[in-house]
């Protein structure tokens, strides 16, 4: 138990990721309001992106671009660009998902007049 606690304290970023992920799933499941479910989905996706950022951050690293007249390149001083690319693409996917979902939610509101899931399911019967 002490070792587990020790591990958790040494890695606060990943603890935050786990908390955000689970909280987002709880919001998606527990709240009947459609927009709140969307916010829960957004938090889940943000937690995944946060995980990607957490392991790609590097202390004292600089941009991986070689300019003219630079001498030998030591990979230690440069940030790994691949996880950053994963992060940017994931953010774009998140925005696109948000766009489609907001369009669906506004269409549901126009059709059913309510954003509460229980009321909508009542109307569907």
């Amino acid at each position: 138990m002490g070792e587990l606690l020790h591990t958790l304290i040494q890695r606060p970023n990943f603890v935050v990721f786990v908390i955000l992920f689970l909280w987002g799933i709880y919001i998606m499941a527990a709240h009947p309001n459609l927009v709140k479910k969307l916010i829960g989905l957004y938090i889940v996706q943000t937690s995944a992106i946060f995980f990607l950022v957490a392991f790609s951050a590097k202390d004292g690293a600089t941009v991986p671009v070689i300019l003219e007249g630079m001498a030998a390149v030591d990979p230690v001083g440069y940030a790994n660009p691949l996880p950053h690319v994963l992060t940017v693409t994931a953010i774009v996917v998140q925005v696109a998902t948000l766009g489609v979902s907001l369009a669906l939610v506004s269409a549901i509101y126009r059709k059913f007049g309510s954003l509460d899931e229980d009321e909508i399911l009542e109307q569907l019967k």
């Binding site: 941009v63 671009v65 300019l67 940017v88 953010i91 774009v92 925005v95 696109a96 948000l98 766009g99 907001l102 369009a103 506004s106 269409a107 126009r110 059709k111």
Partner: protein, 153 residues
């Protein structure tokens, strides 16, 4: 129907802030070659400036005409991106292999530079259009899309 903002202060500041935001967006777009930035972020900043224009000046105003017109360019950015890749295909290499981008008068490094810059411009345009269209489609308009009453179409 988004109406112009009531306060003169907000409208005046909008005239000042929105062009600065757009300039910053283009700067971030081009700076992506040498540092953090690039197409996605540049597009988002331009999108936020256009959405600000809609929110401050109203959707029917002359000051937000760019935001309205840009909605017609749905997918143009994607065509630019895929078009650059297709040009590389036509030039003889694989898709998006900038060494084969046969623009006359360019050496290899410049070919890569121009190719990447064009793709980022395409991405920025597309992200800007997406952002503005999300904001516009959320404004509640009664006489819009014809609702389809039936379910099992």
């Amino acid at each position: 129907m988004i109406h112009p903002h009531d306060s003169v202060l907000v409208r005046t500041l909008g005239h000042i802030v929105i062009p600065i935001a757009q300039l910053f967006g283009i700067y971030v777009l081009v700076f992506g070659q040498y540092g953090p930035g690039g197409g996605f972020v540049g597009g988002v900043i331009i999108a936020s400036s256009l959405i600000m224009a809609i929110l401050v000046f109203g959707i029917d105003s002359a000051d937000s005409v760019t935001a309205r017109k840009i909605l017609h360019a749905d997918g143009l950015g994607l065509l630019i991106f895929a078009g650059v890749g297709g040009l590389c295909l036509i030039g003889g290499g694989q898709f998006l292999n900038y060494s084969f981008l046969n623009i006359p008068g360019l050496d290899e490094a410049s070919q890569h530079y121009i190719g990447i810059l064009l793709t980022q411009v395409g991405v920025a345009m597309d992200v800007a259009v997406t952002g503005v269209s999300i904001a516009v489609s959320l404004s509640f308009e009664e006489d819009e899309i014809a609702e389809d009453g039936g379910n099992n179409g």
